[in-house]
């Protein structure tokens, strides 16, 4: 293919040279360039080459756009990080009062997102979708998958209250929180952030990153799924990424 292109390119150059040579000739004889005459004078080979170049260009452009569309259609292809980013040490407190740290992420796939319990709309919606994902995963996949809500509102969300909160959606769900410093550092590792404000009535307002993060069994930040989150999409993307996963290659 490459050789073909080189050949065609050379042909193209030669063609241009001959065309410009002809052009020069034409300029001496006639004030206006007669392109029709030039084309007429071209050899059959040159005509075929020219057609080939144009065809290849057109097909190339079409293929490019097709490939672009295909990328969009392939689940997970855009979500994956290349290469995965190993997480560094962090410590949060989980709903069971045990630490949530690197060790707890190892050996399992983790789907994690940031939120808080005093969130009336999007957090319970996401947790409902995740509960659906959990119900629909094949048992062998589910057995090494964990779902984690990280609360960025530690003032109002204690590990104990988080335990009651997440188990309402699914008994197996994990939740964790920590100091603002620990949470900020952990969020940064996952390209996420949050900020805490106060509304005019004095109620805290929590803004947080909306992406769902996927961490692989080697505790590497592996993929991110953009909001809004739908069970079906999360499940498909997750399964696709898992199927292509090889622990040794990046």
């Amino acid at each position: 293919m490459l050789a073909d292109i080189v050949v065609l390119f050379t042909h193209n150059c030669l063609l241009r040279q001959s065309a410009s040579a002809q052009k020069k000739d034409a300029q001496y004889k006639l004030p206006a360039v007669n392109y029709r005459a030039i084309i007429h004078r071209m050899s059959k080979l040159v005509k075929i080459t020219l057609s080939l170049i144009i065809s290849i260009l057109l097909i190339g452009v079409a293929a490019y756009f097709f490939a672009q569309q295909n990328t969009n259609a392939t689940p997970g292809s855009k979500a994956r990080l290349m290469p995965p980013k190993p997480l560094t040490a962090f410590q949060l407190t989980a709903h069971d009062l045990k630490p949530l740290n690197i060790e707890r992420l190892k050996g399992k796939w983790t789907l994690l997102f940031f939120g808080y319990t005093h969130c009336p709309d999007v957090c319970p919606t996401t947790l409902t979708e995740l509960a659906q994902v959990s119900q629909q995963l094949p048992p062998d996949v589910l057995s090494n998958t964990q779902f984690v809500l990280v609360s960025v509102d530690p003032q109002r969300d204690s590990p104990k209250s988080l335990a009651e909160y997440v188990s309402y959606f699914d008994e197996s769900f994990l939740a964790a929180t920590g100091s603002i410093t620990a949470l900020t550092a952990f969020a940064r590792q996952l390209d996420s952030k949050f900020d805490l404000e106060t509304d005019p009535v004095g109620e805290p307002v929590v803004n947080h990153s909306s992406a769902m993060l996927l961490i692989d069994p080697q505790a590497r930040y592996y993929a991110r799924f953009k909001a809004p989150h739908y069970a079906e999409e999360i499940r498909t993307q997750y399964l696709t990424l898992r199927n292509r996963y090889s622990p040794t290659s990046p």
Binding site: T117, H118, C119, P120, D121, V122, P124, T125, L127, T128, E129, A131, Q132, D157, S161, L162, E164, Y165, Y168, F169, D191, S192, K193, D199, E203, V205, N207, H208, S209, S210, A211, K226, A227, P228, Y230, A231, E232
Partner: protein, 166 residues
């Protein structure tokens, strides 16, 4: 004959525009998300129709079952989720507005008790028209557990929600 036609249309127009609060508004797909434990907030969702020829502004809501009711909008962009207060909503003539998960919603704050699936919550919506006259409707919303529907973004529970108006 021509006069009769004109008269009839003017009469009908007047009739429609002078209808009392009842019938002006219609509420569909109304439900309240059952609050998970350990939270004092939840959300109500509904579709609100304005059948009248007037433009109304929805700016105030109240409930005997909650301390406060506010309108909010969840906004997700640049990988940030924000909840923005919506001070008022314009409800155009013959138009409707949708409060739904992940979008505009009614935030119910500080319940009088923990409401569970099967309970109903009363909500009063206060509207003002161009002449600043206040109208209100009272609706009753069933408490439900959110369910995942496989069609994107359609999480509301259809067919079995109800409303009544005063």
């Amino acid at each position: 004959m021509r006069f009769a036609k004109t008269f009839l249309s003017v009469f009908l127009l007047l009739l429609v525009s002078s209808t009392s609060a009842t019938g002006k508004f219609e509420v569909h797909d109304a439900w309240v998300r059952e609050a998970p434990p350990k939270t004092n907030v939840t959300a109500a969702y509904l579709t609100l129709y304005n059948h009248s020829l007037r433009v109304y502004t929805l700016a105030r809501l109240s409930s005997p079952d909650f301390k406060r009711v506010e309108m909010h909008r969840t906004e997700q962009h640049d990988n940030m989720t924000k909840m923005l207060p919506v001070p008022q909503v314009i409800l155009n003539s013959k138009d409707h507005i949708v409060f739904q998960p992940g979008g505009m919603h009614l935030m119910l704050i500080d319940p009088k008790k923990r409401f569970r699936v099967g309970d109903n919550i009363t909500l009063t919506l206060f509207f003002t028209d161009e002449g600043s006259t206040e109208n209100s409707i009272e609706i009753s919303l069933p408490v439900k557990k959110a369910m995942v529907d496989n069609s994107h973004g359609m999480h509301h529970n259809q067919h079995d929600s109800h409303s009544h108006q005063h």
